[in-house]
């Protein structure tokens, strides 16, 4: 975990109450360039930032969507005063960020890029609403290592849809669902799961969605799901975001937000 002051490089409205912000890291190339190992940050899809916002006491955790050598992209909803103010911030303004936080998705099972296991793997990625952004980083990472994931994106309505094109540009097969049918398939993400061939599952979204996905997916199939909890600190100190698992209590902010499907207690 590092505490950095990041500069807003750009911000745009993506959909209803939904914004994309690109943050510039304090040292260009901080993510991958030849810094000393201690300075170099390694990011996994599913990890998050904890951002201090003017007018809020607690930091606001926001998942990382994408990253380059010197930028981080986040997508967030304006749910309260803090994020509404954030959506009005201008290019060049600064944010106080703790990062990267959480465990992220474990992709070690996919092995080396270009291996046989890669091309044969059939992961299904499911993102619902504010759960879509971490799926993008995950999708990109999988594509980069030679895997062709299938993606289901679920939103409430056409006005809420974002990043469909971005996923398709990565080369992913995208199925869109909206609750009111105003775009894509009418219904929930689970309504789009029938008939899709997949051998592993990665999901992020509201807990009710995750549970429905888990019930629909074949029992015993490998999978990882990212959970949301109200957090105090975001780095394991306050025990505010604890969660029961089959292997004991875990902190969503440190041992999560990604849990193995096999350990989840619904």
């Amino acid at each position: 975990m590092k505490n950095d002051i990041m500069t807003i490089q750009s911000q745009r409205r993506l959909a209803e109450e939904t914004y994309e912000m690109v943050l510039q890291l304090p040292h260009a190339g901080a993510l991958t360039a030849a810094h000393t190992p201690a300075q170099k940050q390694h990011i996994l899809p599913g990890q998050f930032l904890n951002i201090r916002l003017d007018g809020s006491y607690l930091r606001r955790p926001i998942s990382i969507c994408e990253w380059t050598e010197d930028t981080l992209t986040i997508i967030y909803k304006t749910v309260g005063r803090g994020t509404t103010k954030m959506s009005r911030m201008q290019t060049g303004e600064k944010l106080d960020v703790l990062w990267p936080l959480g465990n992220g998705y474990d992709l070690s099972s996919f092995g080396e890029s270009g291996s046989v296991s890669q091309s044969a793997a059939q992961p299904l990625l499911i993102g619902g609403g504010a759960g879509v952004p971490p799926m993008f980083g995950l999708c990109r990472k999988l594509v980069e290592t030679g895997v062709q994931p299938k993606v289901i994106l679920g939103f409430r309505s056409a006005a809420d849809v974002f990043y469909r094109n971005e996923f398709e540009t990565l080369g992913a097969e995208v199925i869109l669902t909206t609750e009111d049918g105003s775009a894509g398939i009418k219904g929930f993400v689970t309504d789009a799961m029938d008939g899709i061939c997949y051998d592993s599952l990665f999901a992020c979204g509201p807990e009710a969605m995750l549970q429905a996905v888990d019930e629909k997916a074949p029992a015993g199939m490998p999978g990882q799901m990212s959970f949301e909890r109200r957090m105090g600190c975001g780095f394991g100190a306050c025990m505010g975001c604890s969660c029961r698992t089959k292997y004991g209590s875990k902190r969503i902010c440190v041992e999560g937000p990604v849990l193995e499907r096999s350990e989840i207690v619904w």
Binding site: M1, N3, R52, S56, Y57, L58, R59, G80, L98, R229, R230, M231, G232, C233, F235, G236, A237, C238, M239, G240, C241, S242, C243, R244, S249, V254
Partner: protein, 327 residues
């Protein structure tokens, strides 16, 4: 205003931040408050926690506890609610895992925060810690400096605040702990009482060597969309800069009532807050919620102390406590 004219390295003019708490010397009065610093590990990854005066570890019970259901955290204006409910791995795991790990990264006496559902629980935790620490003592200095008795947690149905709002119950817990340890016993008091000095006096009479004031205020928030309490447990403990004036008042009242040292806690977020607490009579301070918002909060406050002391013409922090006592 007194200006900084001499370099900090000249010992004769460097402000003296040292304090003594129940006979134990501390390089500075800043401790992290229980429940905001775990057992130290998360922060030791970030900075050298030997910088701290000390810290009070997570409230520890005889058995492991998951705590309350989530959500356990709510945002407030300049503060937060928590209803964690004393999640901890239990005293046995603390002794076998947490304390040895802590010994690697923290080389000062730590404050052990103990809790339970009945006086016997508090006594059990204290006794186990006392025995374990005595075995340590053979090899090195005792690891535990003080026993902090949490009779003020608002988030548990039995124990906690139930003890801290009644002088007799408070005294019974302190007596139970007192019998099991030779270490200084500190009672951590609740502000959710009509007269905190009555509880403080009862603890002093029962053998407490010091008091921590205050634990969290009982608070609540409702979510406007669901029209339900934000916290699964309905109410929770309110902390953060918002509560500082209440904490300062409690410390001031207690310092004029009891003859044992008082540790000021509640909303401290700056070196200036530390000075103000000590001017109210505190012998040391605990920084709580600030650690959760800024993991470097304690480090920053400690590093700021000498500069702010010079700004206000304070040569030694202990003077402030002493001045407050005779006022």
């Amino acid at each position: 205003m007194v200006r900084e004219t001499a370099p900090r390295t000249v010992p004769t003019t460097a402000p003296d931040t040292a304090v003594t708490l129940c006979g134990i010397e501390m390089t500075n009065p800043v401790m992290a408050a229980s429940g905001t610093f775990g057992y130290g590990r998360e922060f030791a990854d970030l900075y050298d926690i030997d910088l701290l005066g000390s810290f009070s570890f997570k409230g520890t019970t005889p058995k492991p506890r998951f705590g309350n259901e989530t959500p356990r955290i709510a945002e407030c204006t300049e503060g937060m609610l928590n209803s964690v409910g004393l999640q901890n791995p239990g005293v046995d795991a603390v002794i076998s895992e947490e304390l040895p790990a802590l010994a690697e990264v923290f080389h000062k006496p730590v404050m052990a925060n103990v809790c339970g559902g009945c006086p016997e629980d508090y006594a059990e935790v204290t006794e186990k810690l006392e025995i374990a620490d005595a075995q340590n003592e053979a090899q090195r200095r005792p690891q535990i400096g003080w026993i902090e008795v949490n009779i003020s947690c608002p988030n548990v149905k039995s124990g906690g605040m139930v003890f801290g709002t009644d002088p007799k119950a408070a005294a019974s817990v302190i007596r139970a702990v007192r019998q099991k340890t030779k270490k200084p016993v500190i009672a951590k008091l609740s502000p959710n009482v009509t007269d905190i000095t009555e509880i403080g006096r009862a603890c002093e009479a029962a053998g407490a060597d010091g008091l921590t004031a205050i634990n969290t205020l009982l608070g609540m928030r409702i979510d406007l969309k669901s029209r339900r309490p934000v916290l699964a447990n309905t109410m929770g403990g309110f902390s953060g800069p918002a509560v500082f004036p209440v904490a300062l008042r409690a410390v001031y009242q207690l310092c004029r009532t009891v003859d044992i040292p008082v540790i000021g806690c509640g909303g401290i977020a700056s070196a200036e807050n530390v000075l103000e607490m000590m001017m109210a009579g505190a012998a040391a301070v605990q920084v709580g919620s600030a650690n959760l918002v800024d993991p470097y909060a304690c480090k920053g406050i400690i590093e700021e102390l000498p500069r702010v002391m010079k700004q206000y013409g304070i040569k030694a922090l202990q003077e402030l406590t002493a001045q407050a006592q005779v006022r």
